[in-house]
């Protein structure tokens, strides 16, 4: 299978196999007008199978969301056909507006305009806690 190289844009590589579509939806890539390629189950020496997303255009992406959904992703920025920047993501220290606190006793349950922000509490077990009530994210 052949997907043409992109001249200016972004490549999300090393996505866990099967998570490509999830990232596509969460990042709302369907709202973009530029060409996008999603490759699933590509062969990988490191991961055996992986997904890749190629975006033919420089668009702002929320790296914290990508890091939360799939912390092993590599984000490469392509300029004039060359990689100008490569970022190896990890779990973000804090995420806002990605998940919602489900604790009915939390202040966010009654004050709708408050941002739902979570802080990384236990990186090993990937535990995030609400900054207001400290409930574990589910």
């Amino acid at each position: 299978m052949l997907v043409n190289p992109i001249k200016n844009g972004i490549v999300l590589d090393h996505i866990t196999a099967g998570r490509g579509m999830e990232l596509y939806r969460i990042l709302k890539l369907n709202e973009l007008s530029c060409p996008i390629a999603i490759i699933t189950n590509a062969c990988s020496l490191k991961m055996d199978r992986k997904d890749i997303i190629k975006i033919d255009g420089n668009v702002p992406l929320d790296l914290d969301i990508i890091g939360y959904v799939d912390p092993g992703v590599t984000v490469s920025t392509i300029e004039d056909g060359d990689v100008s920047q490569r970022i190896h993501l990890k779990l973000p220290e804090q995420i806002t507006g990605v998940i919602r606190c489900k604790n009915p006793r939390c202040i966010t349950s009654v004050e709708q305009e408050l941002p739902h922000t979570f802080r990384l509490d236990d990186p090993e077990n990937r535990v995030y806690r609400c900054i207001y009530c400290e409930s574990k994210a589910k």
Binding site: R105, C106, I107, E111, Y132, C133, S135
Partner: protein, 304 residues
């Protein structure tokens, strides 16, 4: 400008300094009578509380300041749907420091983010209650003369008891702390807290269901209430409730210098027959709450 939302907002050095000031207030009350002259404390109690609100108010009056506020949400604009942020911005126009109790967890954090004056969390639901923990620490220090090298038993509801969790977190920053967790299976300390304790070198902990057997080794016994609504069925509650009621008989094997603490209010978990025992500290503990809140307000208002 600083606020106090959870006990871990304070370093152990700051806690030690607060205890020193509180003990100086107790020794030299006259020196503090006008320290907060012209200052106003707003007590924003979105849910009722006797002890904490009165203790904050008494503390500010004894420092020469004044108090304004409300004692339940129905007498505030919250009843009309006002947000915490808007209430705080308004109160900022009238007060120099705020003590806030709210039924929703995290409300004082929201308040502190919007406030131009210090906010003290006076209890947010089942979450934090840092001035209770400071009260407990001052009481332990006054009774024992130290916050290290102690065997501390926590008895009763260790699962939902916010005062227990906060005091364990605060004590686990000192050295030589041995914690004995005394509870029925249904009310054990949550696993994530046990894991945290297990990862610390300066703290050891053991678990037991038997209060009477644990008492002889304790320097401090921190009692909490075993509430009926925490059990899945009434039969278990009835079977277990008496095991966690402290009576003079259960104190037979206790150390002569044991200190018995309770955050109050008590229902029946400590028999009134224990009240006259000199080892019962819980009413002295309530008094200490006023002194440590005086010290805290001085610190947050940056008054020497």
């Amino acid at each position: 400008m600083r606020s106090l939302i959870g006990i871990l907002d304070l370093s152990t050095e700051e806690i030690d300094a607060l205890i020193r000031v509180a003990e100086d207030i107790i020794a030299n009350p006259d020196a503090y009578r006008e320290k907060c002259k012209g200052k106003k404390l707003a007590t924003l109690f979105f849910e009722p509380s006797t002890r904490t609100r009165l203790s904050f108010e008494a503390a500010m009056y004894e420092l020469g300041g004044n108090v304004l506020g409300f004692s339940e949400a129905t007498s505030s604009s919250v009843a009309k749907g006002e947000s915490v942020a808007d209430t705080i911005r308004t109160v900022n126009c009238y007060a120099d420091i705020i003590a806030m109790r709210h039924p929703k967890e995290g409300a004082p954090l929201v308040a502190s983010a919007k406030s131009q004056v210090p906010v003290i969390n006076a209890g947010d639901g089942g979450h934090n209650h840092p001035t209770q923990t400071l009260t407990d620490l001052l009481t332990i220090h006054r009774e024992k003369g130290r916050l290290c090298d102690l065997t501390v038993g926590f008895c009763g509801d260790l699962k939902f008891g916010r005062t227990v969790h906060s005091l364990i977190e605060a004590l686990s920053r000192y050295t030589g702390i041995r914690i004995v967790l005394i509870s029925p299976d249904e009310l054990r300390l949550p696993e994530y807290m046990q894991n945290k304790l297990g990862s610390l070198d300066n703290v050891t902990f053991t678990e037991t269901k038997n209060l009477e057997a644990a008492i002889p080794e304790l320097d401090i016994l921190y009692m909490t209430r075993v509430q009926k609504e925490r059990f899945f069925n009434e039969a278990d509650y009835i079977r277990l409730k008496d095991s966690y009621i402290l009576t003079p008989e259960k104190l037979t094997g206790a150390k002569p210098d044991l200190s018995i603490l309770h955050p109050l209010p008590r229902v029946n978990e400590i028999s009134v027959a224990v009240d006259d025992d000199p080892r019962a500290c819980y009413f002295r503990q309530a008094l200490n709450g006023k002194f440590i809140r005086m010290a805290l307000m001085l610190m947050l208002l940056d008054i020497q």
